[in-house]
């Protein structure tokens, strides 16, 4: 999956308009990055990347680039 496709997945997950995220976007500055979104991201990682990740690991992410690194 390309980086562009991964960003699109994140935008869809957070119900954001297309092209609203970049690798440098700081998660803490997004209103949409809340506890429910963290749970959504856990499901996304499991379904799309067959990865089991716990919430504390996700809470420690700082930028979209960090999230993309998990999406492998």
């Amino acid at each position: 999956m390309s980086e562009k496709e991964k960003i699109e997945l994140l935008e869809e997950m957070m119900d954001l308009d297309p092209h609203s995220l970049t690798k440098d976007t700081v998660l803490a500055k997004l209103d949409e990055w809340d506890s429910i979104t963290i749970l959504s991201f856990i499901v996304l990682l499991d379904e799309e990347f067959n990865k089991s990740v716990k919430a504390p690991e996700i809470r420690s992410l700082v930028t979209i680039a960090d999230a993309l690194n998990m999406m492998e």
Binding site: D15, D34, I36
Partner: protein, 248 residues
């Protein structure tokens, strides 16, 4: 004039709009000024509904919820004129009377698909920013979720699932300025009630249990209208009885 029931220019999607409570709701909401999007399987019956609506700006979509895993297309069409939705009513429902010895997973699946899984998919789509401008969701549950009749194990469970889902979903949707509630009708004169009578449920006995006797679909529609309107702006995650006072 102050009228918090006014739904002028609010666009509201109604499933199961070709009959019963869904049709009565569409008619009732149109009288309050809403622009409705009617959804059901049968185009002829949808036409019968739409000619009974007041004002203009209504539309209908022919779709079978049981066959629609992803309902994106329904919502894309609902907002294609540029106006986002302000409300959603899930009135499509399916009821079976099945004793436990015949209650196989296959038989349960269809009822769960329409009553519960479709409800969740509709809410999932409605809650996307591109489809709503905040608003109110009403699921048509049933008194059966609280007072079950024999051989209605799965129907009761499907409606109870809607009820508790509304509470859980209210926690997620409040942030999006979306309220969600269910209404629990008692026995009312609809084709579904007649079907239950034919399937072995004694409606005359049930009628005796309701202090106000059998209801009419319009009496449920008015509660749904209330839950969609600004009059209920402080109510979310709740299950509202519209059962003519049934306590037994």
């Amino acid at each position: 004039m102050f009228n918090p029931m006014d739904l002028s220019n609010k666009r509201i999607l109604i499933t199961g709009a070709s009959s019963g409570i869904g049709r009565a709701t569409a008619i009732y909401l149109s009288k309050l000024g809403a622009k409705t999007v009617l959804l059901a399987r049968n185009e002829d019956r949808l036409n019968d509904t739409i000619i009974q609506l007041e004002n203009d700006g209504h539309m209908y979509i022919v779709a079978d919820l049981a066959e629609s895993e992803d309902m994106t297309h329904i919502f894309d069409k609902s907002v294609e004129n540029g106006t986002k939705l302000s409300g959603l009513v899930h009135s499509a429902g399916f009821s079976q009377v099945i004793p436990i010895n015949m209650l196989t997973k296959d038989r349960m699946q269809k009822e769960m698909n329409i009553n519960y899984f479709s409800f969740i998919e509709l809410v999932r789509q409605f809650s996307k920013k591109k489809y709503n401008q905040g608003g109110s969701i009403v699921g048509v549950s049933s008194i059966a979720a609280d007072k079950a009749e024999q051989c209605q194990t799965n129907y009761s469970a499907s409606k109870a699932a809607m009820n508790i889902a509304a509470q859980a979903l209210s926690l997620e949707l409040a942030k999006k300025q979306i309220r969600i509630n269910t209404v629990m009708p008692g026995a009312v004169y609809t084709s579904m009630a007649m079907h239950m009578e034919e399937s072995g449920i004694d409606m005359s006995e049930i009628e005796k249990l309701q202090l106000l006797g059998m209801g009419k679909a319009e009496q449920v529609a008015s509660v749904i209208a209330f839950l969609l309107s600004d009059m209920s702006s402080f109510i979310t995650g709740r299950n509202v009885f519209a059962d003519g006072g049934r306590f037994l």
